[in-house]
Every structure is written in C-alpha cells, then in structure tokens.
Amino acid sequence: MNNSLIVKVVSQKMVPFIIMLGASIILHGAATPGGGFQGGVVIGAAYILFALGIDAKTARLRLPVIKVKIVESAGVLIYAFTGLGGILLGSNFLANKIVLFPPQGEPGGLFGGGTLIPITIGVGIHVACTVASLYYAFVEYEGEPKPDKETE
C-alpha cells in the first residue's frame, strides 16, 4: 500500500469522531431515526478506515480477531439477557418498563426507551464487530488449500 502521509494522518484523526457519531446514533436509537444497526455500521466503518490508513497487519495487532469475536458474542448476550431479565422479574420475555436499570426517563428523551437502551447497545456492538470481521474475512482471504488436483 502507498505510504501517503496525508491519508495516514487524516484517517487516524477521523476515527474518534466517526465513533462518536456512531455512539450517538446508537444511544438515540429509541427516539430518533437510526438505531443499533446503523450506528454499529458507522463504528465498523471507522475501524475499516483505521485499518486502511495503516496496513491490515498492524491494525490486526491493535485489534485481534479473537477479541472481535468475543465482543461480537457479548453484544448478542446483552440483548438476550435484557430479554431474560423480563422473565426473571416475573413478566414476559423482553418486557419493558419493569427493569430498574436503566432509569426511566421522559418518552422521547435519551432514557425514554427503558430496556431499549441496552438492546440497541447490544445490537450496535454486534453489528460493529460483524463489519470489522467481514473486513478481516475479505482482506485475509488467501484462497483455500484444497486437496484438488483437477484442472478445469
């Protein structure tokens, strides 16, 4: 890859701002357009920009695949356990407005969604990590070592 200084510096400096945008979309998921998926894609795109700026190997050292996978699974588990919380507190699966955390705010406000906040955070984490691991899958594909001699 070309070692253009401008590309390298600008892509590194942009990353925190893009992540903040993504986090904002995720946190306001209950009240505004967007939500876990959209914000998660933005955060994943920030990672791709970061990895394109420096080369893929260095990026991989910063964020190993196995860590991505762990956080990815954790996102789903956040969602699932928010749902199970409803059952444990004596109501139905994914029931809202019965869980003490997060605080219940005004409808339309940041905490107005009740249990939607942990759910969108879980979805956001999962989607961000999925986008990152898709990038790994495409960049690091080296062809299959197939036991195949046929030439067709």
Binding site: S73, V76, A80, G83, G86, I87, S91, N92, P145, K149
Partner: protein, 556 residues
C-alpha cells in the same frame, strides 16, 4: 422457578421463547469455547440441544392440555397491559404455538440431538479441525431457526427464523470445503435466496392488504377481504391477497423442493456432511418448506374455506404427481448412494404435497403423519449411509457388495429404514402411506392411489438394489479404483478420488480399521432411530392422538 414454565398473566409458556433463545445464545458462545476448550464443545452442543428437546416435549404436553389447542405468548408485554387494540388486533409479536408446531418442534430438537451425538465421531474426519467450532455453532443455530419457525405465530418473526436456519445451512453444506460441496452450497444459496425473496414479497403484500403481521389476525382479515362483495372497499384488496398467496406458494415450493424447483436439493443434500444431510432432508425441507406451506395455506389463507382452494387443488395435485414420479425415476438412475437418497426425498415431498392438495382433514392428517415419519426414516438412511462412507469410503452402490457382513448393525438399520420407505406393514412408512391412500380414496381420486403404488414399486427398485448388493452381492475383491489420484486432505490423510469426483479416505488412513463396526457414539443414534421407526409403526395411535386435534386447529 414456577414462572419459567407458564407466564403469569397469559395463556402461554415462557418455553415458547426460551427454546430458540437458549439455543442461539449457546451457539454464539460455542465457537469461542472451541477456541480454548475444543474437547468439551460437542458435549455442550449435545447438552443444550437435548435440553431444548426436553423443553419442547414439556411444551407439547402443555399444548395438548391447553383448552384451545394453542398457546399464545405476548413477547415484550409486562404483567398487566393492553394485549389487543379495540379492533381486536394484537399488539406486538405474538408467539403462538399450536399442536402442529409443537409436534414439529419436538421432532426438530429430537433429531437434532441425535445428529449432534452422531457428529462427535463423524465430524473430525470430514471437515477441517479449525472449523469444528463453527460447525457446532452453525448446527445449533440451524436447529434454533427451525424450532423458532415451528413455535412462532408472526409473519415476520417466522421469516427471521427461516433466514437463520437457511443461512446456517448454506454454511454447513460448504463445510467439507471440497469442490463439490462449495459448488452445491453456492447453488443452494442462490436458489434459497430466491425463495426467501419471494417470501418477503409475499409478507409485504399480505401486510399491505391486511395491515398486520400476526398470522391469526391476518387470517380474519383475509377472510373478510375475500368474502367482501363487489362495491365494498375491502373488495379492492383481494388482488393483493391473491398475489401474496402466489408468492407464498412459489417461494415455499422452492424451499420444499417441489418440481420444477427440486434441482438444488439433489446437489446440496449429498454434498453436505452426512449428519447435516440427515437434518436437511429430514427437517429443513419440512420446517422451512412444507410446514410453512400448510401453515400459510390453511391457517392464513384458509384454502379450505374459499373458492380459490378448489382452483388451486388440481394444480398442486399435478405438481405432486410429477414430483413423486420424477423423484423416484431420477433416484433409480443414481449410483451415488447419498444422491439417490436426496432424490428419494424429492419424491417423498411429493407425497406430502399430495396429502395437502386433497384439501381434506384426512389428507392433511396423512401429510403431517408423513412429515413426521419421513423425518425419522430419511435421517436414519442418511446417517447410516454416512457411517458406510466414514468406515469404508464407498459412496458408489455398485462397490457395496457384501458390506452388510462387515458392518451388520449399520446395514440392518439401513434396511429397516429402507423397508419403511417402501412401505412394508409393521413400519411407520406404511402407516402414513396407508393414511394418504385412504384420504385419496375418500376424496374419490383412485388415480392418486395408483400413483402411490407405482412410486412404492419404484422405491422398492432402488432401495432393494442397495440392500441386495449389501447382503447378497457377489463377493468381489477390493480393487484399486481406476484413475484414483492419491492426494492429501487437510488432516494429512490420503484421499482417493472416485469417478464421481467425491473424495474418500484411502485404506491406510481410515479410522480404526481393526474395528469392524462403528464407534458406540455413532451407532446409538442409528439404533434409536430404527427403534423409533418400529415403535411409531406399531403404536401409530399415539401420533394420531396428537395429529387429529392438530388438524382440527388448522382447519378452523
């Protein structure tokens, strides 16, 4: 602990959502567990699937004892809340499990348990070691998707579960990473995606016509629209309903491999690992295909209530007859045993469609009975064929002479399933064919019985060919396969490529060559399934006790 089994304020059970949720959560952790503790990964998978099987059985008993014949669970609702709008439309996602769904869910998780037991010994010899974690992850996800389809009562919810099951099955077919399996997986993915798109389109049209995604409420709306007289504003929506019905019929025909959309099945099912072939043929084409076919045609569109049912019945019947005869004839032409079994599945799907196309309670009973019985038979056939390939590396029927003496238990299990498939009386295949034939006679269509008999004859031709070669074939020396290239697979085992391009392990690398029969872990699922075939053949009354009320619920 008490409210784990029944939700406090509804006529529902938490198990309806807990079964898919626990499977999905475990699946997403399994591949991480494999990273650190590869040994315990199969045990966890088997454990969670058998736990879901027990849950599904509890759920089945609860549904049988429920007054309406179904359980309704309002996901996302708290104790006291409004459940319905003033118009009677339910709020939110309603998980509605009727007897039919609960029965198929128990079948899915039960066969899934057996397949995952079977996988423990079988899989390390079929796929790369580094992929085993992903294999179990996808296996559990696929079972979660299929169980979810059976338990839900919401149009979009079923679609999500259908995609969960389908996408994991594309990955599982590609697992061996040979040329055949990759090609088959790609074909399967393209055709499967086509079917899924048609289904989404059908859901969209249904939603725009009825304004709801809840199946039970959509059924009421469809009934109002179809029976509305000209001049009523609802009358204008009937075209949307008909278009939606068409989309569902075509999309689900692709998913359940009816003629002419059967070709993907004959590639995808043989190329997958045998444990997965068993689940694909036994469950996947049924839960994502025929199950939804019956669910939508009867529960939502009310084919038995409206005049378009009478128009569609002959069309479905023609497709069924072509599927039955075509599948059987193609199966005779195959030399590869797994490919033969795949074509046999196509023919059997035709039987089920034939039962549906009669549009009578008796026909539907026969179809559901055949769904259940065929799942048991075809899983056993694929698992024992996989065991033959695992032990001897032979896929070609012509090379199987006297293999029954080397692996007696496996071949006896295969023979039991084959006899049942042909329809020999004490076994369960006979019972469902009998029910279908009786339903056809009741509907005054004796030609369908003739088709059933011809197809049974054709079944006998290709199944007795295998059984006859295995037990009574000429003893031949094991010759080197001509033009076999000895190559190395991912484990460093030598592989022989036979004339069909499939790979099998070379003699010296076969697992436990001294031991004649299979390891106990692989033999146990085969014996359980063979016993189940015999049991449900003799005690078919147990199934009928469940299926008759299930049909009554569908028929309302």
């Amino acid at each position: 602990m008490i409210h784990l089994f029944s939700s406090a304020s509804d006529n529902g059970s938490h198990l309806q959502v807990l079964i898919p949720v626990m499977l999905i959560c475990t699946a997403l952790v399994l591949h991480l567990i494999y990273y650190w503790r590869p040994r315990i990964c199969p045990y966890i998978a088997t454990g969670i699937i058998s736990l879901s099987f027990i849950s599904a059985l509890i759920l089945l008993v609860k549904v049988i004892h429920s007054p309406n014949g179904y359980l309704e669970y309002f996901a996302g609702h708290s104790w006291s809340g409004q459940r319905y709008l003033a118009s009677g439309q339910p709020i939110g996602i309603v998980v509605r499990t009727d007897l039919f769904g609960a029965l198929i869910a128990a079948l899915v998780t039960g066969l899934g348990t057996l397949a995952s037991i079977y996988s423990k010994h079988y899989i390390p010899h079929t796929i790369k070691t580094s992929n085993i974690g992903y294999y179990y992850c996808l296996l559990v996800l696929m079972i979660a998707g299929m169980a979810g389809i059976c338990l839900t009562g919401d149009c979009f919810n079923f679609y999500v579960f259908l995609e969960v099951a389908s996408i994991s099955s594309y990955g599982l077919v590609a697992m061996p990473q040979t040329k055949q399996s990759l090609e088959a997986a790609f074909k399967y993915m393209v055709v499967g995606a086509l079917g899924s798109i048609l289904l989404v389109f059908g859901i969209v049209l249904l939603f725009s016509a009825t304004g709801t995604l809840n199946m039970a409420y959509a059924a009421q709306q469809v009934h109002k629209i179809v029976t509305a007289p000209p001049g009523n504003p609802l009358h204008n929506f009937r075209h949307l309903v008909f278009a939606s019905l068409g989309m569902f019929i075509i999309g689900l025909s692709v998913k359940s491999a009816f003629f002419p959309a059967h070709a993907w099945l004959a590639d995808a099912h043989p190329a997958a690992p045998s444990s997965i072939s068993a689940l694909l043929s036994g469950l996947m084409v049924k839960s994502t295909g025929v199950f939804l076919f019956i669910r939508f045609l009867f529960t939502v569109f009310g084919l038995h209530k409206h005049e378009y049912g009478m128009l569609l019945a002959p069309l479905l019947m023609i497709i069924a007859v072509i599927t039955i005869l075509g599948g059987s004839v193609f199966a005779i032409a195959q030399n590869d045993i797994k490919r033969m079994l795949a074509y046999s599945t196509v023919a059997q799907m035709g039987y089920i469609l034939m039962g549906v196309s009669l549009i009578s309670p008796a026909g539907l009973e026969g179809a559901i009975l055949h769904i259940f019985n065929h799942a048991l038979m075809k899983s056993l056939l694929f698992m024992s064929a996989g065991a033959l390939i695992y032990k001897t590396g032979i896929r070609d029927i012509r090379e199987m002479s006297r293999i029954g003496y080397r692996m007696p238990v496996t071949m006896v299990c295969f023979t039991v399933a084959a006899m049942s498939m042909i329809g020999i009386p004490p076994l369960n295949g006979f019972m469902s064919k009998w029910a279908l034939a009786k339903a056809a006679l009741d509907a005054n269509l004796p030609m369908l019985v003739v088709v059933l008999l011809i197809s049974s004859l054709l079944n006998a031709v290709y199944y007795f060919r295998v059984v006859g070669t295995a037990f009574f074939g000429r003893a031949q020396q094991h010759e080197e396969i001509p033009h076999a290239d000895i190559i190395r697979n991912n484990h460093g085992h030598s592989l022989l490529q036979n004339s069909y391009g499939y790979y099998s392990l070379a003699d010296k690398d076969r697992p436990n060559e001294n031991e004649q029969e299979l390891p106990w872990g692989m033999l146990m699922p085969l014996i359980i399934l063979a016993a189940a075939i015999l049991f449900f053949g003799v005690k078919v009354g147990i199934l009928r006790e469940i299926i008759r009320p299930a049909v009554q619920v569908l028929w309302r």
